[in-house]
Amino acid sequence: MSGTQTPLVDIADVRLSYGGAGGTLAVDQLTLRVPAGRLVAVVGPSGCGKSSLMKLVTGLLRPSAGRVSVAGQAVRGPVKIVGMAFQNASLLPWRTTLDNLMLPLEIVEPYRSRIRRERAGFEADARRLLAAVGLAGFEDRFPWQLSGGMQQRASLCRALIHRPALLMLDEPFAALDAFTREELWDVLQGIWMERGFTTILVTHDLREAVYLADTVHVMSARPGRIVATYEVELPRPRTLDVSFLPAFSHLVQTLRAHIRTERGAGDAAAVA
């Protein structure tokens, strides 16, 4: 199914090292293709270079070798068709939820030059987006008046407000309690199915990866590269019932075994 169509994200044989020659090798021989419209999860042991992956795709870091392209164009600087959300919601505490959502529009073109004249229209968009994640009625609240889960929903909205073609998520739900996390899985799945943007979800949580993704890639210990890829053939929209199916548990088990092997390999490499 990923076959002939050009991928939205194409990472080909990429190496990234920090601190010049002889520095730490964060990723090596990293190859990953993400077809447009798909939701892809990347899992791996801690320190496997998942954050490097985020920065490579968004153009915040340039690869030491290899090629990264997004939407058919080689990445040479900030990629504006990307939205990002992290474990920490990092909303601006002096802005209301609505004004937090407006922040990207004040920066990214073409919105930036239009925001003075079309603010009302943009705000209507933002309100619709907030309603879609269940935050209707909280537009004028400040971040400190929101719970952790609500802050994370707002952070997700901020990543999506400029209608990016690609959404990059770095452990977005890791700081939440289990119930809130599962709630937000459904929020993300819902808005993804509605809007059809491509998503790369970097996570430690294997259940989360299987629940949300079309494809799960397993990254090796540092230097990181993709060592296994699994298609998740579960129907959508997935509900918590799906997570109790044998196929679901089986895939989570398989992934867990993979990670354990990779962790072992990483430790061995560290000792050697």
């Binding site: 968004t58 915040l60 900030p78 601006l92 002096w94 922040l103 920066i107 400190w144 719970s147 952790g148």
Partner: protein, 258 residues
């Protein structure tokens, strides 16, 4: 009486008890007035010589505010430069720390040589003492931005200027207003020191001359006035701080809850 009221009254009560102990101590141990005057004598002097004291106090207040205003302008400018540019930080920070370590008292004679005896050395001393906390706090506010947030903005194509204007400066505001409270108190220290050493007017001069004549009640009356002005200014800036950046004190429990 409610606990809140008691809390507000506590500083006044503590001061009253302190003055009472002081008064009694002086009476019981027969402390001579030219060593330590009784508080009641200080208060009488304060009321009796209100005219001259007020004249000098006004002058000190204006000197202090002038130096403080310069400190705010320079401190913010330096803080923004140092806090938003790694290179500027590396170039300027050691110099700033070095300058801050120089005792400003030692610089007053230099200022006198340059500008003569009078108001200008006092304004400059107030400025030198108070600009450092402003500069450092603004720089810290700018430099401690969450790296993820910076990544989000950079990936959207934000320039360094965008980041400073949209996030850095608003973020630095609580640090800035907190520094004003410290800076205004230091500015008083600076102006009074300079007045003591090299001026013909101001509370510092008044205190210096009074102590040369062993008029200790007047010395203490002068000190009390400086303290009162310091507290009043601190209170004003604390109030401004709460008004301007209430969001910062509430975000203490930021991120808690599910």
């Amino acid at each position: 009486m409610s606990r809140a009221w008691l809390g507000r009254l506590m500083p006044v009560l503590t001061l009253a008890v302190l003055l009472l102990v002081w008064e009694l101590g002086c009476v019981v141990f027969h402390v001579p007035e030219f060593v330590l005057p009784r508080p009641s004598r200080v208060i009488v002097t304060l009321i009796g010589t209100f005219g001259p004291i007020w004249f000098h106090a006004q002058h000190t207040l204006l000197t202090t505010l002038a130096g403080f205003a310069m400190a705010v302008v320079m401190g913010v400018a330096l803080g923004v430069v140092v806090g938003s540019s790694r290179l500027a930080y590396q170039a300027l920070y050691p110099l700033l720390v070095g300058f801050n370590s120089v005792p400003k008292v030692a610089l007053v004679p230099v200022l006198v040589v340059w500008f003569g005896i009078g108001t200008i050395p006092a304004v400059l001393t107030a400025f030198m003492l108070s600009f450092f906390p402003v500069a450092v706090n603004v720089a810290i506010g700018l430099a401690t931005m969450e790296p993820e947030l910076e990544d989000v903005l950079r990936s959207l194509g934000a320039s360094q200027r965008d980041i400073v204007v949209k996030v850095g400066l608003p973020r630095a505001m609580p640090y800035f207003f907190a520094s004003l409270k410290i800076a205004i108190t230091l500015a008083f220290v600076g102006s009074v020191i300079a007045e003591t050493l090299a001026s013909n007017v101001g509370i510092g001069t008044l205190v210096e001359q009074a102590s040369a004549n062993f008029r200790m009640p007047l010395v203490f009356a002068g000190l009390a006035v400086v303290a009162a002005m310091g507290i009043a200014m601190y209170a004003i800036f604390a109030w401004i701080e709460r008004r301007m950046t209430g969001w910062a004190t509430r975000s203490v429990d930021f991120g808690i809850g599910g």
